[in-house]
């Protein structure tokens, strides 16, 4: 049921873009203290780079087309020993996140069942993708979740469900590792500001960003994506 032709087109297009890509994202040294707070003045010292976004083509014939409502994401990087903090900032006029009661019981017993409030809402989310083995590299893994020879790691943040570290070596191979990582987020005046705390990686490591807009029913491969960038 997947649109093979579209996907092939997309691969070709992103391949070209990846080769043409010259941008790098500077990494600013910082103290570990407070870097996780997206409103911290520390972030004023980190040079922002705006990454252009595209939407993935419709993967399923039943998908409704989606407009390019978000055209770019601003990325900043801070480094201190042991960590790199990534701060993402993007325009999103609707905040799609929910505070869910914890699911504690698989059966009712004596307590009142915690309800599912909605069945049809999706969350805003973002992710940073790095090669599984970080370090300076001239080779970018395939944008579609890497490939067999170039696996990737994904630091995924979801406005409702929090963070998850994932691994993949190609499309449809993505899986959760069970690990989480620290993050903080603020949504203010039509803007998401999210910081992710990643393990330190060396200069020259490629990095790509993806965004999901809950309002557009984004999830899975239905998303916004940047091409690979190099970190300085």
């Amino acid at each position: 049921m997947k649109s093979v032709a579209l996907v092939a087109l997309w691969c070709a297009a992103s391949g070209v873009l990846a080769r043409a890509e010259l941008h790098t994202i500077p990494v600013t040294p910082a103290s570990a203290e407070g870097a996780l707070d997206p409103s911290s003045p520390m972030w004023k010292t980190a040079t922002p780079v705006s990454l252009g976004l595209q939407r993935t083509p419709l993967l399923y014939p039943t998908d409704q087309p989606a407009a390019l409502d978000i055209t770019s994401v601003q990325v900043q990087l801070l480094r201190a020993s042991g960590h790199v903090w990534v701060r993402l900032e993007w325009q999103d006029k609707s905040r799609n996140s929910a505070e869910l009661p914890e699911a504690k019981r698989a059966w009712q017993g004596g307590h009142l069942v915690a309800q599912s409030e909605a069945t049809d809402r999706f969350s805003d989310a973002c992710a940073v993708m790095l090669p599984a083995t970080t370090g300076a590299s001239e080779v970018f893994p395939a944008l579609q979740m890497g490939d067999a020879a170039h696996p990737v790691q994904i630091y995924f943040w979801d406005a409702t469900r929090g963070t998850a570290v994932m691994e993949a070596k190609g499309r449809e191979t993505t899986h959760r590792t069970g690990k989480k990582f620290p993050s903080q987020s603020v949504w203010k005046e039509g803007k998401w500001m999210v910081t992710l705390e990643l393990p330190e990686f060396a200069a020259g490591t490629p990095l790509a960003v993806a965004l999901w807009n809950g309002d557009q029913q984004d999830r899975d491969g239905r998303k916004y994506f940047s091409v690979w960038y190099k970190t300085q």
Binding site: M1, T62, A103, A106, S116, E117, D120
Partner: protein
Amino acid sequence: MSIHQISMVLDLNKCLGCQTCTMACKKLWTDGDGMDYMYWNNVETRPGQGYPRNWDKIGGGFENGRLRPSDIPTKEDYGQTFEYNYSERLFEGGLQAMPHQEVRNTPNWDEDVGSLMLGENYYFYLPRICNHCTNPACLAACPRNAIYKREEDGIVLVDQERCEGYRYCMRACPYKKIYFNELLGKAQKCIFCYPRIEKGEVNACAKQCPGRLRFVGYLDDPNSAVHKLVHVYKVALGLFPEKGTGPNVFYVPPFNPPRKGNYGKSILEDPRMPIDYLVYLFGEQVTDVIRRLEGELQKAQNGGSSEVLQLLIGRDASVRYQIPKREELIHIQGAKKA
């Protein structure tokens, strides 16, 4: 496609609309957190909007081999889950027990609102579970390969580990029989009571049914009641065959007596239930099925005996259910299974 297929046949002429099956299922499988609105087994009044509201018109299924678009039903489409002001009524002098919120929809709304059609009163109950389809649209739509159909019995399950809650399956299922547990972020659905089936025990909904209208067994077991009703006597049909999923739950259509006590006339000539409506639900074949059932009825009324009607009476569990235990299954199903 699975090697073997377990199946259920429901005789709609016998359903009381008591919802015992619904409760049996709810207490056994869907009384956990996030499952409040889910009825893996539901019973809806027909004609009517059904559960979730207008599920038969939302979309899904296949068209020319491709998945058809569909929306995701909203929580209100499934029906609200509300509490009553019992303590106010009982202890604070309240006049009436009322729900805490305005009620706009419930899982069987048509039963709750009713409507009077003078001289034209007809309705029947349609109990529904997942159809454990031969060609499941839910499975075809899942990009995570989280949905699988078991080879040994054709039961369709969602791997709760692999599921990421994307809900492509909810859109794809033309019967809207996959639900979303928002608290867990997982799709959940009828599991055909597989832990019971594996032990040779029938599904909870069938076990509890006072109408004794459910038949359960392997479609490919020539000795099973389901095989006979579907393939030999040909008196049971799947719901909405044109949706292209090959449902494995079958219904004996309602063939109520003619209106106004007009015996002697054919049910098809003077139907109580508009035949168009039955064709809408079960396809063109429904008229043949009703003709066949009517023939059997006449046979019995003329003093003869009808094997089909005897079977449909379903006197006891051994008549209705043929569910070999796993170990026995290997013998019955032969080397292919082993």
